[in-house]
Symmetry: C2
Subunit: 336 residues, 2 copies
Amino acid sequence: MTVAGLSESELLERIFPRLNRGFGDNTALLLGPGDDAAIVAAPDGRTVVSIDTQVADQDFRLQWNNGYRTSGYDVGWKAAAQNLSDINAMGARATSMVVSLTMPPETAVAWVEDFADGLTAGIRELGAPDCAVAGGDLGRGRELAVTVAVLGTLDGREPVLRSGARPGDTLALAGTVGRAAAGLALLESGTGVGSLTGEQRALMDTQCRPWPPLAAGPLAREAGATAMMDISDGLVRDGGRMAAASRAVLNLDAAALKDLAVPLLPASKLLGTDPLAWVLGGGEDHGLLATFPAGLQLPPGFTAIGSVEAPALMNSSGVTIAGRPADTVGWDHFAD
Amino acid sequence: MTVAGLSESELLERIFPRLNRGFGDNTALLLGPGDDAAIVAAPDGRTVVSIDTQVADQDFRLQWNNGYRTSGYDVGWKAAAQNLSDINAMGARATSMVVSLTMPPETAVAWVEDFADGLTAGIRELGAPDCAVAGGDLGRGRELAVTVAVLGTLDGREPVLRSGARPGDTLALAGTVGRAAAGLALLESGTGVGSLTGEQRALMDTQCRPWPPLAAGPLAREAGATAMMDISDGLVRDGGRMAAASRAVLNLDAAALKDLAVPLLPASKLLGTDPLAWVLGGGEDHGLLATFPAGLQLPPGFTAIGSVEAPALMNSSGVTIAGRPADTVGWDHFAD
């Protein structure tokens, strides 16, 4: 059965029971779906908000070159992951999300149910069980697209911004980098999914269902992180944004980068590529980049990967590797 | 110049100055675009939230049959209008929105600038000047799509839900119904846009740039409205939702419906159609349907169009016209 065979309300009836509502006393959902808008608690008088869209054949393929078919579960999980990561990167806690799903009429109803299951699983398993799905919008289009807007609370604390990195700070990473990019390369390769090793398959899974380190954001904030952001477009590109906002230089440690490349070797050896390009340019793992005052013990989950330095000249902020300008850049949405 | 010729940050630099930031002391924007998420004030500890998507060739055509070309300004305005209307329908006040724009690479940069101008104009001219654009997402796709999530505040008051209509209440309408549907019929007709009269052109404009009555929501709440919703899918369909939520019958007054059809005559006469079908089935004007205790003087902008009655049988909620079941239904996203 396809979505063309159901009215919007019939489709909603199939989706609603599968969506996360938040649990018990911790739910922020004061009024759920069914009215013109939902109402969500903002206990400290502030709401953190972000929005993110995934489009089929642009942000993912429904059918990959290596034979893998993206499931509704994958798309739902990834929508949860990338949005929850944005809230995490502020040092905040997600309270709710609203979801808009645009589908071609030939989309199977089972695919949509699988999407709802993946969204809920992502929310729960990634560590944001209180995040309720507060509402949404279903519509038709020629291509499949998912937009999520996520709301969060700072629980009375201050956010960690991109602009606070100071010369002398330690630059640290929680989660991973390059795995999703390595996984993308595997998905687009001619090597059939069935012949991948377990390690290679795990890299592919990071592209399809990333695991941002959701506990790390609030831990970093409590530990005194001076700046923080999630890596969605690559270490060098996103690091450059933090450097620019902080008017500083982020100097990456060459040995640390080599360590980050090790888990990518099962893919780079198969494909004959340089894993360092994935470490420096790959986004979508949604690892967390943060800076901490020098000498501070890093919170659990963080590894030092460099340091913050004063720019040599005014306006010469940027990212360096062992002191030399990094020119590998992540993927850009428009320029090719 | 097309968006394919610019990086995402270059495009954002062209859009940001055109977006509404809220004014002076009334802005709810505590942290604007540029970090992983924005921060918006929620002064009474609650945030009202809704999400809505428009897709080209589904929710509007870039090029209509009658020769009219939808501008970026139109799409931006309509995105503002339909989202602000959802907040209004709760009796709330919009504080901010986040915007996701998906564009084919051949989209003109000027079109995107025009979109931003229309979004800002809609926010200001419709009467929500404090509503700041807090952030967004730009991406590529094969078809143009716009998703807005809007946040609002109840300013310490209670929301007006769909479920509160009680037998004996007066059913009232603020704003218009059927104009956008009449305008849609004109846009899809063979009559060239250049040969339309001023009145016909004004109906077309309601489809392209609707004017939801934003002041009416809070006024209705203060006056003691028992139930409220915006009409986006048609009077009978949306009225049916209010009736179901309230377990009541909404009985429309036949004379009132005829009055509502009068402004549509310039289109119905040209096209040889029944204007009552637009009154009963047309959404997208985003008029406001509300119920008030009997005998209460209706707040400014509202006109009585019927009454709330007890259902004859259990579970027989619905919409009637002069006591007889209304079977004209509005447009549904999936079922044809």
